[in-house]
């Protein structure tokens, strides 16, 4: 009967994979062949002896002191264990960064989707502008008509002029608040003319309609007023 080699017996003993058939053949040889059995017993005795020898490994009598003396100066204070929250710090920062990045991307690359509240505020702001524009347009229209009447030397518009003076001051202030300095300046410039017309008593020597008519012509007030009225039309433009 063929016998397994010493190396094969060793691998068999250690359970290293030699293939199932070869392992079965060696196991049978160890069990049935007296010579293989003897060799395997010797191998076991040899390995047991090495175990005994290798297990008897006591350090020398002074070894512990010697090793500790050399080790002790190298022992820096151990790092304290990290608190539990520290383990969440990094994931937390990553999450915050992701959210921040998402917000930036959303604001810069995606079409803005205003909230209901934002939409309402925008509509409110636009509605306020539209109301002001409508009243202003009517005021400018009435003022233009007044100026034309005054330029033509017609009389009897004092009451309208008095009404427009009050309104003109309010619209000038509103134009200033709305950031329309050109309009505000024009309305401010218009106020003395309206006051002259409101105070007209028929005596040109004291001013009144005559003075107003002169200013209307010299300053080209009707034309400038028309231009401003056009700029206050449905597509508002900043002056």
């Amino acid at each position: 009967m063929n016998q397994p080699s010493d190396d094969e017996l060793l691998m068999f003993h250690f359970g290293e994979d030699l293939g199932p058939e070869r392992m079965a053949w060696i196991a049978a040889a160890v069990a049935d062949d007296p010579n293989t059995t003897r060799r395997y017993v010797e191998l076991r005795r040899l390995l047991d002896a090495s175990t005994t020898l290798l297990s008897a490994t006591e350090p020398g009598p002074d070894a512990a002191d010697r090793i500790w003396r050399q080790l002790r100066p190298q022992l820096a204070p151990a790092r304290r264990p990290r608190p539990v929250w520290f383990e969440w710090l990094l994931p937390g920062l990553a999450l915050a960064a992701s959210i921040g990045l998402g917000i930036v991307i959303g604001r810069n690359w995606l079409a803005p989707t205003p909230t209901l509240e934002e939409t309402r505020l925008t509509l409110d702001a636009n509605a306020g502008d539209r109301v002001l524009a409508a009243h202003l347009a009517r005021h400018l229209s009435q003022t233009e008509r007044l100026l034309r009447v005054a330029e033509n030397g017609e009389v009897g518009s004092e009451q309208l002029a008095a009404t427009l003076v009050e309104g003109n001051r309010l619209y000038a202030a509103a134009a200033t608040r709305a950031g329309k300095p050109a309009l505000a300046q024009f309305l401010t410039e218009l106020e003395p003319v309206l006051r002259e017309l409101a105070n007209d008593d028929g005596d040109n020597a004291l001013g009144g309609a005559g003075v107003a008519r002169e200013q209307i012509r010299s300053r080209d007030l009707i034309y400038r007023l028309q231009a401003l009225a056009a700029l206050q039309s449905p597509t508002p433009q900043r002056l």
């Binding site: 010797e42 040899l46 070894a63 022992l75 304290r80």
Partner: protein, 186 residues
């Protein structure tokens, strides 16, 4: 967790208590030294490796999570440290002579059944002194640490066949030593 349990001592050592770490050192030195000496076969080197293993353990105390016993955790560090020492010796050329040494001692032997166990121990002891670093470390890792040849090859940055041949040579040397003893018995 009793006040002097390994876990309690580890906790104190983590907080900078050197005395607690010294207790761990004294408690586990024998086991650590044994692993180092088995693998290295040189008492002076084994002391150096043991010192290195305890130093690494101290530096990594905050990584010990208590899932395994401290002894198991320390054993793993020790084994890796000792293997590093084996590699260093190998890098220093100690393993380079493996083949020549192997040839010099590679005698097939067939020890007699009649040889006593005491003589076997003496012969194996002598043989162990003659093993190269590679032969010794592979033999210890396979026989005592129960590592597979694949694992050993990975640990020693070698290959399975080289490890297999190293362990074959180690056992042959032991057999040869026993044959020599047998021949000297009247």
């Amino acid at each position: 967790m009793s006040p002097d349990s390994d876990s309690a001592l580890v906790e104190r050592a983590r907080c900078g208590d050197v005395r607690a770490f010294q207790c761990l050192f004294e408690r586990h030195l024998r086991a650590v030294y044994a692993v180092c000496l088995r693998l290295l076969g040189d008492p002076a080197l084994a002391e150096d490796a043991a010192q290195e293993a305890f130093l690494k353990a101290h530096r990594r105390l905050d990584q010990f999570d208590g899932r395994a016993a401290f002894q198991t955790w320390l054993h793993r560090i020790t084994l890796n440290t000792a293997i590093e020492f084996v590699r260093r010796r190998r890098g220093g050329g100690d393993f380079a002579d493996d083949a020549a040494l192997a040839d010099a001692h590679d005698h097939q032997a067939d020890p007699s059944v009649g040889i006593s166990q005491a003589e076997i121990v003496r012969g194996v002891s002598s043989a162990l002194q003659q093993l190269t670093s590679l032969e010794r470390s592979v033999f210890v890792l396979r026989h005592l640490e129960q590592r597979s040849l694949g694992e050993i090859a990975q640990l020693l940055s070698s290959n399975v066949n080289a490890c297999k041949q190293a362990i074959f040579r180690a056992v042959r040397k032991m057999r040869a030593q026993l044959a020599h003893l047998e021949a000297s018995v009247p």
